[in-house]
């Protein structure tokens, strides 16, 4: 297995009669930035929860960093970092304290923590705010810090959940540069988002619709095959049958499912 960071094979999860994730298969190569896209309720969160060992698959299997997500959950958790859109940092703690805390949780030595804290604060340009509570930093700065903290134990794979929603365009680009830098150093990055313009930053994307992978490829390939200008356009086409005007919208409304455990 040369450089496969994530291997997913016919992964399936049902909740009662409802199939949230329906036989999905894909590989992610080490150092790749892989976009995992889908509307709310498409099954993204359920799939991710299986990949990080929080939820048992109903059938199928997956290996993350070479470890089985069912049988080797602890090794999986040590090999990954996770940054959620909502909560990743302790807001009452300073950037320095957050880094130290997460370093401790992941069992880094005191020396490692000191050295990585200094390096991260410098890389982020945070020397002036290293001892300021996180709650008083702008959203974009918190997001950049959260990403760096998710990498503190140098995981092989990092999962990002809608990392740049609501962030200003300049900070957003600094954020994507951090992602590219991590990928360039061999870290695999899996980004889940329902904002299709974020998808365009990924090396490859998959689009989930109703529990299945409806499309997968580089953004350029997918746009070329479908003859569309943007991933957003392709997404709308996949998620809704071709139609126009009111009829199209009314049918769309029928596709919306009740909350199926996806709280994003």
């Amino acid at each position: 297995m040369t450089d496969v960071a994530i291997r997913v094979n016919e992964l399936t999860r049902t909740f009662g009669a409802f199939t949230a994730v329906d036989h999905i298969s894909f590989d992610v190569t080490a150092g790749e930035v892989f976009g995992f896209l889908g509307a709310n309720g498409a099954g993204k969160t359920t799939a991710i929860r299986m990949l990080i060992g929080l939820l048992q698959p109903s059938s199928g299997n997956a290996r993350v960093a070479g470890y089985d997500v069912v049988g080797e959950t602890e090794q999986v958790k040590r090999s990954i970092g996770y940054m959620s859109q909502r909560f990743s940092l302790y807001e009452d703690l300073t950037p320095r304290e957050n880094i130290r805390l997460y370093g401790g949780i992941y069992g880094l030595t005191r020396h490692q923590i000191r050295e990585r804290t200094a390096r991260m604060l410098e890389r982020l340009g945070f020397s002036g705010v290293a001892d300021t509570p996180v709650s008083s930093l702008p959203l974009g700065w918190r997001q950049k810090l959260a990403f760096s903290v998710a990498l503190v134990h140098q995981p092989r794979i990092v999962f990002l959940d809608e990392p740049t929603s609501g962030v200003d365009p300049i900070t957003r680009r600094q954020f994507w540069e951090l992602i590219y830098e991590a990928a360039s150093n061999g870290t695999t990055v899996l980004v889940t988002t329902h904002y299709m313009d974020e998808a365009e930053y990924c090396d490859r994307v998959s689009i989930m619709v109703a529990g299945r992978i409806a499309a997968m490829g580089t953004p350029a390939e997918l746009k070329g095959q479908a003859g569309v200008e943007s991933i957003d356009e392709l997404f709308v086409r996949l998620a809704r049958p071709v139609g126009a005007g009111e009829e199209h919208r009314t049918r769309g409304a029928g596709l919306v499912r009740p909350a199926d455990g996806e709280h994003q």
Binding site: A39, N40, G41, L124, G125, F126, G128, V129, P138, L139, G140, W141, S165, G166, V167, D168, P169, I170, T171, R173, W176, E177, Y180, E181, A183, S184, H194, Y195, M196, D197, E200, Y201, P219, A220, D232, F235, V236, A239, R240, E246, R249, T250, G252, A253, G254, V256, R257, P258, A259, Q264
Partner: protein
Amino acid sequence: MTDAVTVESLVKRFGPTVALDDVSFAVAKGELFGFVGPDGGGKTTLFRILVSLLVPDSGRGRVLGLDIVRDFRALRQRVGYMAGRFSLYPDLSVEENLTFFASVFGTTVAREYEQIKPIYSQLEPFKDRRAAALSGGMKQKLALCCALVHRPDILFLDEPTTGVDAVSRREFWDLLGSMKRGGLTTLVSTPYMDEATRCDRIALMHRSKLLGVDTPAGISGGFGRPLVGIHASDRYKALLALRAYEHAHSVYPFGEVMHYTDARLDMPAERIASDVEGFLVARGFRDVTAAPLTPTVEDTFIARTASNPGNNA
């Protein structure tokens, strides 16, 4: 008078924080007018002032000819407001929420049915479902219905598409477009630059200030430099290489490509493109392509805020 909204030098502070810094603009009747900018830029504070929920520290504003401070009672009868946070009753059903908001304004759902029908028809199959159990897109449509049920003359929508998926986002903007054709004046805010193109005019907001007001085409056209999109095999290393190029003015990732502007202002875009392509190829980068691009609203936003101190952390 044809202006639905006029605002002059609005200022609002919260303690030491300046939330709105000398903001002035006017919105014409029937316009679909967007406020575009990141979180924390002042959009919500501005909307809350315009619907009379907050009082400005200084400056003046009129909505539908009514003073936003003195005439607040009359104003509240005539504006529809959709707050950024989901502000309906989660334990009430779709229908109960709508009935409640109609009754607050002394009307009934039946009487206003034609007004809300285009949106409500999509919600009706779920009218007995609790609001809390709706998907993000459906919640936003219900909130829009509740904001429209008293036939407002002007609508204020604060980030109606935040947290809503791409399909629902598009449907929501389609609805705003059809309401505009019906003559309704709408002010809408969004952190997403791509949504700006659906507005007649947009105001760029950043750090409590208005950076400019123009049509989407005018904003893109105001970029001021030739823009080149560059693709190369190793994106991150190419980015660093370009940044170190002696003629580079700005280089930043933009979706699949990098956006590049050159410091040589007299050079046409085609020549810049072939120049940087040659630069990257000579440094061993593979799959290099470079081509002139039309700037987007987001490019303009970046250019106008880049010089702002504090953006480099």
